[in-house]
Each structure stands twice: as C-alpha cells, then as structure tokens.
C-alpha cells in the first residue's frame, strides 16, 4: 500500500497485514477496513481529514478472467456515511503491475496535483495546466507530459473539481467510478489525476494448469448463450427487459412501461450507433462498445443505467440525445445516474409548479427537452446557474427548493436510485434501502427474484416466493444472501457479469483464487469474509448515526402504485422485508444494529468497541 500525505507532500509504502487479507480479502473489503480505521466519526467528507482509498481486488490484474475491477472508497459527501464506487477498465490492473494493491490519500494538497507512480518511483506533480480540462483533454495532456501512452490514468473532470457529489472518477476515458461522491472527495484534495505504469507482472502459480483453466472457462462461456447474448449488446439489452417487467423510470418514476420500446432497444443501438466492441482488462465478455452519433460525437460505453437515467427518467426517448448526454457525462466526469436523477427531478418539480423556467435560467423544462438536457449537464459540471443546485444531487436540491419537492427526489440516504422501479422488483427495493452506500442495486443485485426457479428459491432462501418479484416474503433472506455473495466480487476484483450466478458461489471462487493469489480459502471462509465486510460497513454507518430509520425508500414507492404496465397496482411494503432482513443478518430489529453475538462471531469486537452505540449493553442477546 502507498500512503500519501498530501498536506505534507510525503509518502511511504506500508504492508497490508496478512490477517486483513484473510479477513477482508482485498478491494472493497480492505478499503472498508482502512476507511473504518482512518476516518473518525463526524469528519466533513470534503475536508482534509477524510481519506481517499483506491483498492484493487485480490485477483485484479491476474490470470483469472474478468479481473479488471477496483474500488474507490471515502466518507461520502452524498450520504454522510460510507461511500464507494467500483470500476473496470485497466487502471486497477496497472496498479497491481506496479506492485500496489492499495493507495491511500490523507490531507489536501495546497494546489492541484497529479500523482505519477512507476513501480517504486512516486512523484507529486503540478496539475494546474490540466485543472478545468475535460477528462479527454487532461488524459491526453498528461500522457504528452509523461512522454508515453503506456500509462493508465485515473482522473476527475470539471464536475469533480467543482466538488459535485454526483461527479465521477474516470479511467480509460469511459470507465466510471461514479457513485458515492468519491470524485468530489478527490477534487477536495486537489488531486486531478493518478497516473500509473507498472512492470512487475503478476502472480502465476502453474502455467500449464492456468492455461487449462482459461480454456475451460472460455469454452464454458462460449457455450453459454447468456454470455453470447451479453457480449453482443452489453447492458443495453436490459432496456427491453426492464420495460417488459414494467419497471422503467419514466418521468422520474411516474410511469413504468413504454408501449413502444423499439426506438430505445439494444437492436437500435447496435444497428445505428455501435461501431465496435470494447473490453476491460482480460475479459472475454467484451460487453462495451465504441459508438458514434453522426460525425461529431464519438464515444465509448453505453450502459443501461445511462440509457435509463438520461432517457426515460428525463422523459427523453431519443437515442441520439442519450448517447450525446452519455458522452458529455464521460467528458465532464459526471455520474450518469446522479445527473439523470437530478434532471428528471427538476423536470417533475417544473411539472408540479415548484420550479419555473425563470428559476432554471430560462431553460424549457418540459419533459424530454433534448437541448435542455444537454445544457443542464454542462451547467451541473461547472455549477453554473441552476446547475449549482443540481450539482448537489436531487436530495439536497429538494431541501433547498422545499414546498414538497422532497417527495420528488428519488434517493436513499442521498444517493440516487437506479433505473429499476422497486414496485415491480421488491427485493431490489429492499436492497436499495439497506445498501451500505445509499441506493444501490449492485450491493445485492438480486436478479434471482426473476431468474431463479421456485425450487432454487426454496432451497437457498426458504421459500418459493423469494423468486416471485411481487412477493415480499423471502426477500430479506434473499437480499442478505446476495449481499454476502456479491461483495466477494468486489473484494476479489472480478466483474459481476462474469460471476453472475454460476461463478457467484464461493465453491467456484475458492477454486479460482489460487490461480491468481498465493493463498487458499475455503468456501466457508469466503462466506464469512463476505458477511464480515457487510457488517463492518454497517458499523461505519452506525458510527455516523445511521440506523433503521435511514433504511427507507422514497414515499412514491411506498404509497403510489403504477397505473399501467406489467407492474401496475404494486407498492413496496418495506417494513416486513426489513424485519426479515435484520433477522437474517442477526441484527437488532428495532435499531438495525448488528447484535453483539454477531460481531463477536465475525471477529469485529475491536471495531464494535469503538462505537458508543455498543457501550450501553442493550443489544445483548436481542434479536
């Protein structure tokens, strides 16, 4: 681990304790441990006392397929609790090639800097010429200054420089670590970029067996029609799926189903805009694309979340505008989900008479106005006019607007909800409510709700209704199970589209680990690590004052049902699901705090001991 004190301009290399690897694996797991230990209660996320941590997974950059992922963690300026963002691309692997698993930044530089790391060589360099530049511009200029293209760069654009909590950290130009406000934390420390070049290679245990494993995995992926489908269209194919389920975020979740989805379908994207497929490090799936809109816009991406956020959420059903908006978010370093949420929120405020055209610098705020959407993205990134309000995210914007606007902000704990309506996906709703980083579908990713058979559901989660997307029963156990399994992908640095459902199981992961790391884990140890990481993250949030009262959903999902579509008539009944989830987690039902016995079992006594909430003894033996 490289620890850099920006206030002092000094750095040192430190070892991660072996016990931490055993207990928390790597990536998000060790990030959360470092965050817990380094950021005391009450720190302002945008002040120097916050810590910014970049961690590659235990298997990132190794011979294991789809091992590109890394996590950025900090106390979140969006939620006031734990914040993190995960990304693919090539930056995480390059860190590993430089011999680094983690980077930790303390303090704040007095002027803009970028960090250049080449194996053991570390330089803190002046970034003033690049400050204010877009992601593309800064990436090119830094490479020019370093005299090489063979360097991987993690950087923020104007949005992060302007401390927007809905900014994104970018790498590889289009791979985004966008959630949790980590880009604003990076900007608050005056870090424009981190450039890494490594030459140390990667661990290989047994070359012949490793190549045999590759072939086995590659053959199984080639034979599996799911991977072939996914390789072709990436997540753009989810648009038709979620519309078919009636869970699209249309006009800020006022509706869930489009009568005609073809103009926003994956086929439309592939036929008219996609040029070539693109892959992250060592990934055989290649789910991303290079695309262009006319001759003026060439970009990389496109994810369903960006389609949902910049399209239907804003009442926009024009694919070209979605693609241009996505390109702007990449260039400004903006979270597409947060930005689309803020714009959709503003448009509904206008619809309901809370915000006028005059309030919005004369912009036409009618649903789907294409020009307005593109202009607002620029305003958000540079905090111009109404953009200054929206740059804070819909939750804080709603507080400032008032007059009932709070009911229109679709967030949990300050983080925007993604483009899947929980009224048609109850486990997803529970997952958003309890996620340690605010609204998030990836913590649990309970696709089992509509993909597992009733028999699997009964076997793994105790009831067939866990695989009924409209049912509430069984969802607590399902979400708990999914969270403990999914965190392993983040801790190992593997892509969720690879682990999906078959490689999700610890038995499969335990077989993979020795190929990329000189340590073995039993499936039981991996399951325990998953549970431990989730409980540690809960403790961080408890220390910041979070409890059951914060595990909630926007009122819309609890009280207003959809009038039409395949999910019509449904509401989320959150409380029974929360009760079941807390019971499954062995947490106190009233407060949502992990019970003492749970924390002891997981070896988190020291962390627990530092929290005042555990000093009264009222959690002894309670369920």
């Amino acid at each position: 681990m490289l620890v850099i004190d920006l206030s002092k301009g000094k750095w040192e290399f430190e070892k991660i304790p072996k016990k931490w690897t055993r207990d928390f694996l790597g990536g998000r797991g060790i990030n959360s441990k470092l965050l817990f230990d380094s950021v005391p209660k009450g720190v302002n996320p945008l002040e120097p006392d916050n810590t910014l941590i970049i961690g590659s997974g235990l298997l990132t950059g190794t011979v294991v397929p789809a091992s590109s992922r890394f996590t950025i963690s900090a106390k979140s300026p969006l939620t006031g609790g734990l914040g993190d963002a995960n990304s693919g691309g090539f930056f995480g692997p390059e860190m590993c090639f430089a011999g680094l698993d983690h980077l930790l930044f303390r303090g704040k530089s007095s002027n803009p800097v970028y960090i250049f790391i080449q194996d053991e060589r570390v330089e803190i360099r002046d970034a003033s010429p690049f400050w204010g530049r877009t992601v593309r511009e800064a990436d090119a200029l830094i490479k020019k200054e370093l005299g090489t293209d063979e360097v991987q760069i993690l950087l923020i654009g104007p949005a992060g420089e302007n401390l927007s909590p809905i900014a994104s950290v970018m790498n590889n130009l289009s791979r985004a670590a966008a959630r949790g406000g980590v880009a604003a934390v990076m900007g608050s420390k005056n870090i424009k970029a981190i450039a890494v070049k490594g030459s140390k290679g990667t661990f290989v245990r047994d070359k012949d067996r490793t190549f045999a494993l590759f072939k086995e995995i590659r053959d199984s992926l080639d034979a599996d029609s799911w991977f072939r489908m996914f390789s072709r269209a990436g997540t753009t194919g989810l648009t038709e799926n979620y519309n078919g389920l009636g869970v699209m975020p249309i006009r800020n979740f006022q509706e869930g189903h489009l009568r005609e989805i073809a103009p926003l379908s994956s086929g439309e994207f592939l036929r008219h805009f996609a040029k070539k497929r693109k892959s992250c490090f060592h990934c055989p799936i290649q789910c991303s694309h290079y695309y262009s809109v006319g001759t003026e816009w060439s970009e990389e991406g496109l994810e369903y979340e960006s389609i949902g956020a910049l399209g239907p959420r804003c009442g926009n059903f024009d694919f070209a505008t979605i693609l241009k908006a996505n390109a702007l978010c990449n260039r400004f370093g903006l979270d597409t989900i947060g930005a689309g949420d803020a714009i959709g929120f503003l448009m509904e405020c206008h619809q309901r008479g809370l915000v006028s055209k005059k309030d919005a610098d004369g912009l036409d705020l009618s649903w789907g106005n294409r020009e307005t959407i593109l202009k607002l993205l620029q305003k958000i990134a540079f905090r111009e006019g109404i953009g200054d309000l929206l740059a804070e995210g819909s939750a804080k914007a709603a507080e400032r607007i008032g007059g009932g606007a709070e009911k229109l902000a679709m967030h949990v704990k300050g983080q925007a909800i993604i483009a899947a309506d929980p009224r048609g996906l109850k486990a997803w709703g529970l997952g958003y409510a309890v996620s340690s980083r605010g609204a998030c579908h990836l913590r649990a990713l309970p696709v089992a709700e509509y993909s597992a058979t009733p028999e699997i559901a009964k076997k793994l989660w105790g009831t067939e209704s866990a695989a009924d997307r409209f049912a509430h029963l069984g969802k607590g156990k399902l979400v708990r199970w999914c969270e403990d399994m999914r965190v392993l992908s983040d801790a190992l640095g593997l892509c969720r589209f690879f682990t999906r459902t078959t490689f999700l199981f610890p038995e499969q992961l335990a077989k993979l680990i020795p190929y990329g790391f000189p340590m073995e884990f039993t499936p039981a140890e991996l399951i325990a690590s998953g549970e431990r990481i989730n409980n540690l993250e809960r403790l961080f949030n408890i220390r910041e004052g979070k409890s059951r009262k914060d595990d909630t959903l926007p009122e819309r999902f609890l009280t207003e049902s959809l009038a039409e579509g395949p999910s019509k008539g449904n509401l989320v009944d959150l409380e029974p699901m929360l009760d079941e989830y807390y019971e499954a987690r062995e947490w106190d039902r009233e407060s949502g705090y992990p019970l003492l016995a749970t924390l002891h079992r997981l070896g988190l006594q020291k962390e627990m001991g530092s929290l005042k909430q555990y000093k009264t003894g009222h959690l002894h033996g309670k369920r």
Binding site: S220, D224, S225, W226, F227, M229, F230, A233, T235, G237, L238, E240, N241, G244, L245, G246, R259, E260, I261, A262, S265, S266, G267, E303, Y304, E305, G308, I418, A419, A420, G424, H441, L442, L445, V447, A448, Y450, S451, A452, T453, P454, I456, A467, D468, R469, F470, R496, F497, T501, T502, F505, G565, P566, S567, K568
Partner: protein, 98 residues
C-alpha cells in the same frame, strides 16, 4: 377468438422486427400453442433463439422466460399454462444488472 399482446426483447425483437404485437388467437390457449404459432410465423431463427440454454444458479436453464400479465412462468417448463383474452405475454431473456 381473442387477442393476446406479445412483446419481444433483444434478439427476438430483431428477428420479428417489432417490439410487440397484438395477435388474434383462439383463447384461452396454452403457452405451447402460442409458441407453436410464433414459430410458424417467424421460422427457424425464432425457434432456435427461444430454445437457447444457459447455466443459471448452477443449473441448465432456458435463456428466455415468459411473463404473463407481469407474472413469471418458469421458462418453457410450464407449457400447459393457459393464456386468456387480453393477456400480455412478454418474452424476456435472463438479463439482470445495470
């Protein structure tokens, strides 16, 4: 006779050339009969796509699932399921995520 709305996703949308359509069919009809009708209408490519398999939760599974009026019918395992007049049937692949 009744009418049944069918919607398609992903490759099925491309094969049929449409995101959805309303069919005049004798209702109630079984899922089996609906599939037979669609295969006759759209041919081998449609049938092949519908029969694609994947590994899901450690088991072999059909790639496409059927949702009738929003409710999931386990993929192609319950072909006797009856579809009624004015039902909406969505054929969706097992895709999830964001």
């Amino acid at each position: 006779m009744g009418n049944v709305k069918v919607s398609y996703a992903n490759r099925l949308l491309e094969i049929t050339g449409k995101a959805s359509e309303t069919l005049d069919l004798p209702t109630p009809l079984s899922l089996r009969d609906l599939i037979r009708h669609l295969v006759e209408r759209y041919g081998e490519a449609f049938e092949k796509e519908l029969n694609l398999k994947t590994s899901e939760w450690g088991q072999e599974s059909y790639l496409y699932q059927f949702f009738v009026d929003g409710n999931r019918i386990p993929a192609l395992q319950n072909q006797d399921f009856l579809i009624h007049h004015q039902s909406e049937v969505a054929m969706l692949p097992l895709l999830g995520g964001g």
